[in-house]
């Protein structure tokens, strides 16, 4: 069929089953927007900032497992989108971002709103394209979706010069992709898997170390089976919360810088680490030479470059987690008695009894951890929780009872403040039946606060719970611990009127200073079905504990004061 490049873009999106595109128009992408106006195959959400558009597409992708799509114009539109690309890249989130570019004839001339998008985004995309002729556009779009979602997922940028979107040509959307130089390894090597199974059978203190890859590969059910069958205890990274399920007795908790005592001790004492889609991030391992120092390591990952990058691995297995764990299950069937690791589990239970995850609740002031526990009690599995970056993020990871994968959406790798609200908008669009709550901080929320307008316009009822400590709390905590309480530029005493701000943009605001007010506000916010800010005044100087100081060994934690148990 004959059509212009802009129409081809729309047709390709429809062929890929895209239902929602998040974006922001401008000169170089206007031809595509003109076709968006004419079509009704997908909806377009006009975010109020390109960064937010990409985060929204990202939140959509994380919540649904599908490829998220965002569209921006050239120059500043694209540069605004870069933080979104980098955020998705660090957490391996499948996105296709389409950017307009100046016409081919102007490329290289410092034309109006020209910027080298492919050059800038190279280190923060899985792959990117500058389309050079119309005839390659359908193939490039097809490949972009394929690359984004296959192998280790990631964002793909397609930069399209304006004249190409205007030009007419034949459109045939390819139904398959063949990129000879790109063939991700999906099937794990059977001999390696057999060896790993042997190692598991011989181990006395094995530990499942579950990472975000478990969510990305939808392997949660199989990993739960693996744990169940072998009765091997598990720790989760920040990105894997929900994989085992909060009520699972085999889940020890989250490990790492703000992991609980038993999880970090488990990692320090295990004799066999079974790493499933985890990448030994420095926020997880602490001092590398002390990390899992008594253990052999099985590492399963779809990305060969993750294996052996930071630690020496004894049983490397490159492959998709679903495939590998399925094979492990076959190999382990009947091979381990459930009682085999009971002494090990008992040790870990004792550690947990010794130093449980805990905080000192109060009747005078709301503790941020209480708010999170409360939301968990009231909504539990029914909610999707997004967050920004800071103390509140860590408290959510520690205290929210996540029951399933894709219930917890946060920027782990890049740690992008401003991610939570737009991501919540995307998640809500993808999962309209869930209550979507962004648990955020008074610093972070301002980094994409304009999305109030987006959420109000499109009636996307996202609840933002602002844990307001009048501080850039996480930085303040480091200043308290490591910089002699010199609170350099972290005091946020000067604040906007959050309630009024929400209302000025078409939302609803609540100021909350007591637990009762919080319950009432949350209840009302759920019923109102509109975008809301619940501004909760919380204890200013609360710290996230336990804490492994950066670069320290996992077993050397700053613990909550013993008296402070609940």
């Amino acid at each position: 069929m004959k059509m212009n490049g802009a129409q081809m873009v729309c047709e390709a999106l429809i062929a890929e089953g895209v239902k929602t595109v998040f974006g922001y128009p401008g000169g170089a992408i206007m031809n595509v927007y003109d076709e968006i106006y004419k079509q009704d195959g997908f909806e377009h959400i006009l975010n109020r900032h390109e960064q937010a558009a990409v985060h929204a597409a990202d939140g959509y992708a994380r919540a649904t497992g599908e490829v998220g799509v965002a569209m921006v114009t050239s120059g500043p539109g694209f540069t605004n989108a870069v933080t979104g690309l980098a955020t998705a890249y660090m957490d391996s989130i499948p996105l296709v971002v389409i950017s307009g570019q100046v016409p081919l004839s102007l490329i290289g001339t410092d034309g109006f709103q020209e910027i080298d998008a492919v050059g800038i985004s190279r280190p923060c995309t899985k792959h990117n394209y500058l389309v050079r002729e119309l005839s390659e556009l359908p193939r490039v779009l097809k490949e972009a979706f394929h690359i984004a979602r296959s192998g280790r997922p990631g964002p793909v940028l397609v930069d399209i010069p304006k004249d190409i979107t205007a030009e007419f040509g034949d459109f045939v959307y390819p139904d398959s992709v063949n990129i000879e130089s790109y063939k991700p390894t999906v099937k794990g090597n059977n001999r390696q898997i057999d060896k790993a199974v042997e190692a598991i059978i011989k181990a006395k203190k094995p530990l499942l170390y579950i990472g975000g890859g478990a969510v990305l590969s939808n392997a949660s059910d199989l990993i739960r089976q693996l744990a169940e069958m072998t009765q091997i205890p598990a720790v989760e990274t920040l990105m894997a919360r929900g994989v085992m399920g909060d009520s699972n007795p085999l889940l020890i908790g989250m490990l790492g810088m703000h992991g609980n005592y038993a999880s970090n001790m488990a990692m320090s004492e295990t004799d066999l680490v079974i790493a499933l889609g985890a990448r030994f991030d420095d926020r997880v391992t602490g001092k590398l030479s002390e990390f899992a120092r008594y253990a052999d390591i099985i590492h399963v990952d779809i990305d060969a470059a993750n294996i052996g990058k930071l630690v020496d691995v004894d049983y490397p297995i490159v492959g998709d987690l679903r495939n590998v764990v399925e094979n492990m299950l076959t190999g382990l069937e009947g091979a381990v008695k459930p009682a085999r690791y009971s002494d090990w589990r008992e040790i870990l239970n004792q550690y947990d009894t010794l130093h449980p995850l805990s905080f000192q609740d109060s009747d005078e002031v709301i503790k941020p951890q209480w708010v999170i526990e409360r939301i968990g009690q009231l909504l539990g599995e029914q909610a999707i929780i997004t967050s920004d970056v800071g103390q509140h993020q860590m408290w959510v990871a520690q205290y929210y009872p996540f029951d399933r994968p894709r219930q917890w959406i946060n920027s782990g790798g890049l740690g992008t403040m401003g991610f939570g609200f737009p991501a919540a908008i995307g998640a809500k669009r993808g999962c309209p039946d869930k209550t979507v709550i962004n648990i955020t901080g008074d610093g972070s929320i301002l980094m994409n606060v304009q999305e109030l307008v987006t959420a109000a316009e499109y009636k996307i009822p996202v609840i933002n719970v602002i844990l307001n400590n009048h501080f850039l709390g996480m930085v303040r905590q480091w200043q308290s611990f490591f910089y002699d309480q010199r609170y350099s530029e972290t005091d946020l005493s000067f604040q906007p009127n959050f309630k009024a701000l929400a209302e000025a943009c078409g939302g609803i605001g609540y100021d909350v200073t007591t637990k009762e007010e919080f319950d009432a506000a949350l209840q009302d916010a759920i019923e109102q079905n509109r975008v809301t800010f619940i501004n909760v005044a919380v204890n200013r100087f609360e710290n996230v504990l336990p804490m492994v100081p950066a670069g320290g060994a996992l077993y050397n934690m700053i613990l909550a004061d013993k008296k402070e148990t609940k």
Binding site: G119, R122, P123, H127, R132, S181, A304, A305, G308, K309
Partner: protein, 157 residues
């Protein structure tokens, strides 16, 4: 710290405009070392071969190979072990120097005189990288005006 070793890597890539920046950007962004980098199209294909001389400890060298593999337009990464390695150098000498001596020197390193003009003599040598180093040292007594070194190319034996 693990010991650093030298490694010659050949990367066969799709001939697309940004592929060289993907490869060199990977090295820059991840802090890997590039001693030399040579690139040319492979005859009769739409592919190019990039030859990189790098150094690093074992973990880094393994990462370099794996990260290169991850680039979408990369077909093949060869870490050379048994190889023939050659590098080329062009040297410009003042015409006042002894043509015969320079010719003898170049021939000792598998090369020769490639041009003699009114003001200068140009010699060319292609040899193994450490022999090239020796050759360049040896040229110093003939007051070279300009030395242009090519990168390493290698082929598996």
């Amino acid at each position: 710290m693990m010991a650093e070793t030298r490694r010659v890597i050949s990367v066969v890539v799709e001939n697309e405009s940004s592929v060289l920046s993907r490869v060199s950007g990977l090295f820059a962004g991840r802090g890997y070392n590039i001693d030399t980098l040579t690139v040319a199209p492979l005859p009769g294909t739409n592919r190019s071969r990039i030859t990189i001389v790098t150094k690093g400890n074992e973990r880094i060298l393994e990462q370099i190979t794996k990260q290169l593999h991850k680039l979408i337009p990369v077909y093949k990464v060869v870490e050379h072990e048994e190889m023939i390695e050659k590098e080329m150098v062009l040297v410009k000498f003042p015409i006042e120097e002894s043509l015969a001596d320079i010719q003898a020197l170049c021939e000792a390193y598998n090369g020769g005189i490639v041009n003699v003009g009114v003001h200068m003599i140009i010699g060319m040598v292609a040899d193994e990288p450490n022999r090239i180093r020796h050759f360049i040292e040896a040229t110093s007594r003939y007051n070279p005006i300009e030395i242009v070194r090519g990168g390493v190319v290698a082929i598996e034996r």
